[in-house]
Symmetry: C2
Subunit: 267 residues, 2 copies
Amino acid sequence: MAHVFDDAVAVKPGENGVFHAHTHDAYNNMVGPYGGITAATVVHALQQHPDALGDPLALTLNYAAPVANGAWDLHTEIVRTNRTNQHWTFRIVQNDATVSTGSAVFGPHRDTWSDTEAVRPEAPAPMEVEDKDFPDFIAWDKNYEMRFVTGWLDGSVKTDDSTSTVWLRDRPERPLDYPALASMADAFFPRAFLRHGTYLPAGTISLTTYFHASPDELAAHGTGHLLGTARAARFAGGHFDQDAQLWGGDVLLATTHQLVYFKDPTT
Amino acid sequence: MAHVFDDAVAVKPGENGVFHAHTHDAYNNMVGPYGGITAATVVHALQQHPDALGDPLALTLNYAAPVANGAWDLHTEIVRTNRTNQHWTFRIVQNDATVSTGSAVFGPHRDTWSDTEAVRPEAPAPMEVEDKDFPDFIAWDKNYEMRFVTGWLDGSVKTDDSTSTVWLRDRPERPLDYPALASMADAFFPRAFLRHGTYLPAGTISLTTYFHASPDELAAHGTGHLLGTARAARFAGGHFDQDAQLWGGDVLLATTHQLVYFKDPTT
């Protein structure tokens, strides 16, 4: 039996670089699909392309309009293939309107000198931390274990620090791959919620993820928990950024950045 | 007399969202133009578009191939304009080939609750720090004061920490605007240089900048020095990311992220 994640990211190749996709109710957010499952579907589709070079290295996805539940088409174009990288652009089209735009870079993860300067946050073992559920009107999180070490949205408590650190894993377990990383990179609720101790109107405008993990590192990780940590740098002018890291053991698997729109609760 | 930066980012509007641009020798890098001046020219062009909504909020630029010295065309498209944001895609075309792709989000900086969680690095006053010059075969840095507080590339000294913190300012002085921010966001040489204590073959593949500053904040900043700080999170597989912040006084003006290709010196 296929994992629900595989059902959700499934695509059918069409003509001229088009892939046919469909939203999956199990990954619904408050309105339309969870942004992470859209990103995962894009990564999965590009990997299916017969001319894809190597692995995903970078993905930018701009959420121009809400994706409605139902069918959508991904229009892809390989703009340029170099020896060490390949540049893609794409659009998500629904009912003849573009609802998202984006770009991706693929290429081989070569064997080179490596080092990690980022420092993994301290955390107790996953099973020592409580698995949290979002409210029932959000579906997608039911497909994840989300064991919050810090930064769970707890009632109406305002905080000074927007950091969340959380153990993440597919529920049921599933071996880690690039689409799964793309999805989990968006698993951190808008940081303004934490600061104001409440849900607010907020939505990702633009998301960029860098995939540091090699295929061997993904295989070595298997179905274990990832440690994710996210924080905002600045809230101002109706927007904020949030940066996150996804760790598998001591391996920094991905870093991700997004710009988020929010509606000010104080005006 | 126009500032050399204004000459370098000058564009001529054409038909159907095309802008005609030209590289400027004063902003040459080792091969072709400095990536920051290309980003600045894109931002400047989009701002000239009669249908532009508000200010730059986010920019992603994918460097698919080197830009050759000479004329280039920017092909822009406004994909969607919402009430609070506007989504653009664009391409840089030279001799009928696409050398860069990208996307931008524009919108108003609205008056909302604001807070900054990032912490500005400690630094002595700008004039207490020495202005450094890159080697003569690099031109663009001659248009910037670059007063390195930490992380100057000093001979063959290897380091364990890829952080550079530097006071930046146009030389001669020039009032800060969004194109200038877009350029300075790319002013941090590849972090692998610091780690290996030497220049290496390296190049930005994809650059994303979030513009937090409002027009009023830019005006208030004027021609003062910006404090920039940059660091890598992980080097692996022939690539690394580097993240940077640009501060004007206590105001976090922009945050920026890039994925960089590098050639391993040890293999």
